[in-house]
C-alpha cells in the first residue's frame, strides 16, 4: 500500500486528506495518470510531488509504505 496526501484545492476536490491504494511500484507519472483517470483531478499534472517529504520527479518510483504528497503551487510568505 502507498499513502497519497492531498492539499489545498486538491483536498477539496477529493473531499479527503488522504487515501491508501495498492500502487507500490508505480512511478510518480503513473500515479498522476491514475488519479487523473479515476478522480478527475484536472490540475494534477501541474502539481509538485513529494515522496516521504522530499520533492520527487515524474520518473521516481513509489515504493511499498511510501507517502506521496501532491502539492499544488505553494502560496506562503
Amino acid at each position: 500500500m502507498i499513502k497519497i496526501l492531498f492539499f489545498a484545492r486538491l483536498q477539496e476536490e477529493m473531499g479527503t486528506e488522504s487515501i491508501e491504494v495498492e500502487k507500490a511500484g508505480y512511478t510518480v507519472r503513473d500515479v498522476k495518470e491514475w488519479l487523473a483517470d479515476n478522480h478527475q483531478l484536472s490540475t494534477i499534472s501541474q502539481t509538485m510531488v513529494a515522496i516521504n517529504e522530499d520533492y520527487a520527479n515524474d520518473d521516481d518510483m513509489v515504493n511499498e509504505s511510501d507517502t506521496i504528497a501532491f502539492i499544488p503551487p505553494v502560496s506562503g510568505g
Binding site: Q46, V49, Y55, V74, S75
Partner: protein, 156 residues
C-alpha cells in the same frame, strides 16, 4: 540543526523571542523580516485568511533553507517561524531573523529566505475575500512545474 529554529505554529509569533534566538556576542547585525496579511491585492479586498501547511514537510523545508543559508553565508544564524491557521488583516504570518558579523550577509540571507519560502515550503493560503473564498495559487506566477518539482536553489 536545532528544530526550534525552524517552526510552524498556530500561535502569534513573538518577534522579540525570535530576535533573541539569533543575537550572539560576535554579531553586529540582525535583520528581521515580517510578512503580514495584506488587505488589498490587485483591487480585491481580503477579510481574513487561513494558512494550511503540510506541517512535517514544511518544517523540513524551512530547515533546508536554513542549511542553504549556512552554506552561502557561513557566519549567519537564522530562525524562521511560520504561523498557520486563521489570520486577520495585518497579523504576522512569517518572521525571519538573521544575525551576522556585519550587515550585508544578514540582509542578503533574509531576502533569500523569503524567496525560497515562496518556492519550496508547502504552505497554502485560503483567502476569505469580500466577494467569496478562493485558494491562492503560486504568487511567483509560475503555476506549472514542468519538471514536477520546484527549481533547485534560489537566485539573488
Amino acid at each position: 540543526m536545532s528544530s526550534d529554529l525552524f517552526t510552524i505554529t498556530d500561535q502569534p509569533i513573538s518577534v522579540e523571542e525570535m530576535t533573541q534566538k539569533v543575537i550572539r556576542p560576535e554579531c553586529g547585525a540582525v535583520t528581521t523580516f515580517m510578512g503580514t496579511v495584506r488587505e488589498l491585492t490587485n483591487g480585491k479586498r481580503t477579510i481574513s485568511l487561513e494558512y494550511h501547511a503540510y506541517e512535517s514537510m514544511a518544517v523540513k523545508m524551512l530547515e533546508q533553507i536554513g542549511q542553504e543559508i549556512k552554506e552561502e553565508w557561513p557566519d549567519t544564524l537564522a530562525v524562521i517561524a511560520y504561523r498557520k491557521g486563521h489570520l486577520n488583516i495585518s497579523d504576522i504570518a512569517v518572521v525571519i531573523c538573521i544575525s551576522s558579523l556585519h550587515r550585508k550577509p544578514a540582509y542578503e540571507a533574509n531576502q533569500y529566505a523569503i524567496e525560497r519560502i515562496k518556492e519550496i515550503v508547502p504552505i497554502w493560503k485560503k483567502e476569505q475575500w469580500a466577494d467569496g473564498t478562493e485558494w491562492i495559487g503560486d504568487q511567483l506566477e509560475t503555476t506549472a512545474y514542468p519538471e514536477g518539482k520546484p527549481p533547485k536553489g534560489g537566485s539573488l
